[in-house]
């Protein structure tokens, strides 16, 4: 089976069709590059061919990027070689006297966009599914097929850098405005239109407009100014990544080299640095995460999900509104709240969200209207009749949730699923008095729902498999990465966050300075420090959770810090009431660092703080989280290290480059971790005793993941490994 076929149309245009065998999307691979060589020669030698159109044979996708199965585990020199092979081919395309036109419908990501960039003309469909991006940076690598060279040359440095350094996605309309594509057309007849353009280029009647760069690009051609701009970009990268992620810096180096010494030198730089990055542990962990997210989208064996034709959402607060926002595209949504005011606010926000997506080209007007008219805000519970799934997102209060469940059970049909959105309340307790506890399941969303990629589905003892399958499938359809966990105090994510947050407060009790504590964890790779996180989550919520969890795990010495209660009683709630560990003045200019609330130290023995070793701070917090994750695995709360790693990274911001708590243990070694925990237990108490599973692993010298680097890529038609890194949040 071949990936590339060449067909002559009879009008002088040859169509080069990409169709990777046995894959739902096209990927660039070594084999494909081998096929490209002879075809390029055929195009050049055949006098009947005057121009060539590149098009995908896959529905709704152009080329999704390089074959990750091939890239991962590659030796540096092999990675270099594949980059050079791509350079060689695309240089032939670029230098061809016969014009090449890329006809793009659907995603053109990574290597896919680089192929398009080498063509003489790009024409894209004006469809919401058409998205162009270079997401390599999110996987810890760089665009190694000339992307760091051709993109800044085509659209200018200022517009190219955000795409290169953050993987920013660009839709058709914006791509056209920026000159990334030369023309837009409707998806129907794309090849026909591209063929017209190709003939026009060949006979000189069509001249692409390449004058779309902003006037501020002109001065950047001067080396000193360019160096200044690139230096600024570098500072920005350092600020955001703290130097933990090498990929964006390597990309900048390639761009700089290419603009200073020419295309060839730049591409050479690309190949060498690509090889280096591919072998790095950070990149491997990012790609593993991407793989885990892909695998978690696949439906597991077992009971099939039941169709959800209508969704009910109870509670129009921030959570309920968010859940409605990610569900409106899937069918009618009934949004119920007791307060008319709350409903109005949520409805207004939902409408704004839809309008914003229309403006960005992510949604057609027609689909906006379809979604909008499918939304039914109501204050009457009876309107939830006929919903196949009801997700309640009312206040975190056991009695209230029980009351709501009892009321809704009388309204919805016997086969409807009742999901409760809670971050810590055990599902079995909520469902204790349910008439049909088998259809009660937990759906733990993270705030803000539209942005956070994780959904934790909680299975209580009595929950039926069909109810789990239905909730899971719906979560995947919402675009979430779903992990299915067992019921218990705090489930998985909240449970491993509990000791982490509690330890932060204990450290403050012991005299740690707030900025030092947060900074230490940021350097480790967390996106937010623990104290700042406390303010975001809410001190009331954290105090509550900490108390519940502390009670459950008191035997392990995990008593909650008493300071929580004192802070709560003094009215501290965190950011939401402006009274937290940090100050939240209304007029704080954006970008300015937060200032510590000086009054808060009075709860921690006064303003004089002790200097503590950053490494100790990190160990005390991170190891408690890691240890709790291992407890969860041994108790069957999470089904696998993969689920535990994905949950900790996507739900709590565990440093992606470290691969998650279980990967972290494997990387450092269970023995070393157990030893360190022993020291900490002696100094600070039994809460640092390693979980038995961890101790056993250390004793046997084993790892959580088997020795193989990654599951071997069997020829699996479902495998969908392009570099599309969608929703993967690597800081950059």
């Amino acid at each position: 089976m071949r990936s590339l076929t060449l067909k002559k149309r009879g009008d002088g245009v040859a169509v080069l069709l990409f169709d990777t065998p046995k894959r739902p999307v096209n990927v660039l691979s070594g084999q494909m590059l081998e096929e490209a060589g002879p075809l390029m020669k055929e195009i050049q030698d055949d006098d009947e061919i005057v121009a060539c159109v590149l098009v995908s044979g896959k529905p709704d996708s152009f080329i999704a990027g390089a074959d990750l199965d091939e890239v991962v585990g590659m030796a540096a020199e092999d990675a270099e070689a594949i980059s050079r092979g791509a350079h060689e081919w695309l240089d032939l395309v670029e230098k061809s006297r016969k014009p090449f036109v890329a006809a793009i419908h659907g995603v053109a990501l990574g290597g896919g966009l680089e192929v398009a960039l080498a063509c003489h003309y790009r024409i894209a469909s004006d469809h919401p599914k058409t998205v162009l991006a270079l997401p390599e940076v999110m996987l810890g690598v760089l665009p190694a097929a000339g992307g760091t060279q051709r993109l800044p040359r085509l659209i200018g440095l200022q517009r190219a850098l955000p795409m290169l350094l953050t993987g920013k996605r660009v839709r058709a309309a914006q791509a056209y405005r920026h000159g990334l594509v030369d023309a837009l057309t409707s998806p129907g007849g794309l090849v026909e239109t591209a063929a017209k353009a190709a003939l026009g280029l060949a006979n000189g009647t069509l001249k692409p407009n390449r004058d779309k760069q902003p006037f501020t690009e002109k001065p950047l051609a001067l080396p000193p100014l360019r160096a200044y701009a690139l230096g600024k970009a570098r500072d920005e990268v350092m600020k955001k990544t703290r130097g933990l992620y090498p990929a964006p810096l390597e990309i900048l180096a390639c761009v700089e080299k290419g603009l200073a010494d020419g295309m060839e030198a730049g591409q050479e730089e690309e190949a060498v640095r690509f090889g280096r990055l591919v072998g790095s542990e950070g990149s491997k962990n990012l790609i593993r995460l991407f793989d885990a997210m892909t695998a978690l989208k696949k439906a597991p064996k077992g009971d099939p999900p039941r169709p959800v034709k209508r969704l009910g959402v109870l509670g129009a607060g921030l959570m309920g509104e968010g859940i409605a926002a990610v569900s409106m595209g899937l069918g009618p949504v009934v949004l119920k709240d007791v307060s008319d005011e709350g409903l109005s606010r949520a409805t207004k926000n939902l409408r704004r969200g839809l309008d914003r997506r229309v403006r960005s080209g992510g949604l057609t007007r027609l689909d906006r209207d379809r979604q909008w008219y499918g939304l039914r805000p109501t204050t009457r519970s009876a309107d939830l009749a006929g919903c196949d799934l009801v997700i309640e997102a009312v206040f975190e209060d056991l009695e209230l949730k029980r009351k709501v469940l009892a009321e809704i059970e009388g309204i919805i049909g016997p086969d409807a699923v009742f999901a409760t959105n809670t971050s810590a309340l055990p599902i079995a307790r909520i469902a204790a008095k349910a008439k049909r506890p088998e259809r009660v399941v937990g759906m733990h969303y993270f705030s803000p729902v539209p942005k956070m990629p994780l959904l934790e589905i909680v299975v209580a003892e009595k929950t039926a498999p069909w109810a789990v399958a239905t909730a899971r499938a719906f979560g995947v359809a919402q675009g979430k990465t779903v992990i299915v966990v067992k019921d218990g105090p705090g489930f998985y994510t909240t449970r491993i966050l509990g000791p982490f947050i509690n330890e932060a407060v204990v450290l403050l009790d012991e005299g740690a300075a707030i900025p030092a504590l947060d900074a230490a964890l940021l350097v480790f790779g967390f996106p937010v420090g623990p104290v700042a996180l406390l303010d975001e989550v809410g001190i009331d919520v954290a105090a509550h959770v900490s108390k519940d969890l502390g009670r459950e795990f008191a035997a392990r010495g995990a008593a909650p810090s008493g300071t929580f209660t004192q802070l709560f009683d003094a009215g501290y709630r965190g950011r939401k009431n402006g009274k937290g560990f940090y100050l939240y003045p209304k007029d704080r200019p954006s970008g300015r660092a937060k200032e510590v609330n000086p009054e808060v130290y009075s709860f921690f023995g006064g303003a004089s703080r002790e200097a503590m070793v950053a490494g100790d701070l990190v160990d005390r917090l991170a190891l408690l989280m890691v240890n709790e994750a291992v407890w969860c695995l041994s108790e069957g709360i999470v089904a696998s290290p993969r689920d535990g790693d994905a949950g900790a990274i996507l739900g709590l911001g565990f440093p992606p480059l470290r691969g998650g708590p279980f990967r972290y243990v494997d990387a450092v070694g269970a023995g070393a971790i157990v030893e360190r925990m022993g020291e900490l237990a002696e100094l600070h108490g039994p809460r640092f005793n390693p979980a038995p599973m961890l101790a056993e692993l250390a004793r046997k010298g084993k790892r959580f993941y088997s020795g193989r680097r990654r599951p071997q890529p069997a020829p699996d038609p479902q495998s969908r490994r392009g570099m599309s890194g969608a929703g993967l949040s690597a800081p950059a």
Binding site: A183, T185, P187, L206, T364, R365
Partner: protein, 292 residues
């Protein structure tokens, strides 16, 4: 304008003028844009032509024939019984025939026009689009009982009707493709027995699309849920006296015009069955089977 009626005195007028900008003095171009998609009819016709791969030549040829047939029919006096002269200012001289018909146009002339809605790669031009024109049409419709009571004999009988709606983004102007089979089914009339077709030519593209898609087995199976293709419509039976491309498309009058022409043609051509079909904004489609 409304505010100017309220203005009293010179000062008020000055204040009113201050609020005006140059932009207010430019007349608004009437954009006949779809409420749901924001696309104009022309842009939608362009999407349709591209999606079905209708070539410029096909569309121009259809337009050419529409003009030639309309000119021949007008010269032969076929329209005389249907057209009432209109007298309009400034001269109030009688206008006795449509002035949009260009019997002398050629394929060369039509193919020299630039595409109107996608200037680089489009195929829809002013030549293969219907033009806006003024006009009015009427027909008398009543129940059989009423006709008997009034003792009038009908020119034709409405056998069946169908009104449908499709996807306004991808299927605008395709309404007839869905409504014609429905109306024929309701009338229990096979496609081959229809002697006269009057199809609204909003553009050449949708008329071509109707013929193409009803003869397309895969489309009829997938989109219309039928066992096979509905059949081939004989192009000679379609708009034999010209269509909207030549006669123009006065909004609100085209339906009655098509019915009138259909009935006249059925009479002259001795056809037992006729079909009138139009596409409309909002991806609506309408078809009607008439019998004599």
């Amino acid at each position: 304008m409304i505010q100017s009626q309220k203005a009293k005195g010179v000062l008020d007028y000055v204040r009113l003028l201050q609020g005006l900008s140059l932009k207010d003095l430019v007349p608004d171009t009437p954009a006949i844009a779809e409420f749901s998609t924001g696309l104009t009819m022309g842009q939608s016709a362009e999407r349709l032509a591209k999606g079905l791969g209708l070539t410029r030549r096909e569309q121009d040829t259809w337009a050419l024939k529409s003009h030639q047939k309309a000119a021949t029919a007008t010269e032969a006096g076929l329209y005389r019984g249907q057209v009432v002269p209109a007298r309009v200012p400034p001269s109030f001289a009688a206008i006795e025939s449509d002035n949009g018909v260009r019997g002398d146009t050629t394929l060369g002339k039509l193919s020299s026009l630039p595409p109107a809605f996608d200037r680089s790669f489009g195929t829809v031009t002013a030549g293969n689009s219907s033009f806006l024109t003024d006009g009015a049409a009427a027909c008398l419709l009543m129940s059989a009982e009423k006709a008997e009571a009034l003792e009038v004999s009908p020119l034709a009988r409405v056998v069946s009707m169908s009104l449908v709606a499709m996807d306004p983004l991808e299927e605008l102007l395709l309404g007839p493709v869905l409504s014609v089979p429905e109306a024929l089914d309701a009338a229990d009339a096979p496609l081959g027995e229809v002697g006269v077709w009057e199809v609204h030519e909003a553009f050449a593209a949708p008329a071509l699309a109707l013929l193409k898609l009803l003869a397309d087995k895969a489309y009829c199976q997938e989109r219309l849920g039928r066992k096979g293709a509905l059949g081939k419509i004989d192009p000679k039976k379609v708009n034999a006296w010209g269509g909207s491309l030549a006669l123009g498309h006065p909004f609100g009058a085209t339906g009655a015009r098509l019915v009138t022409t259909c009935v006249e043609r059925m009479e002259r051509e001795g056809a037992a069955l006729g079909v009138v079909t139009t596409c409309a904004a909002g991806a609506l489609g309408h078809a009607m089977v008439l019998a004599r």
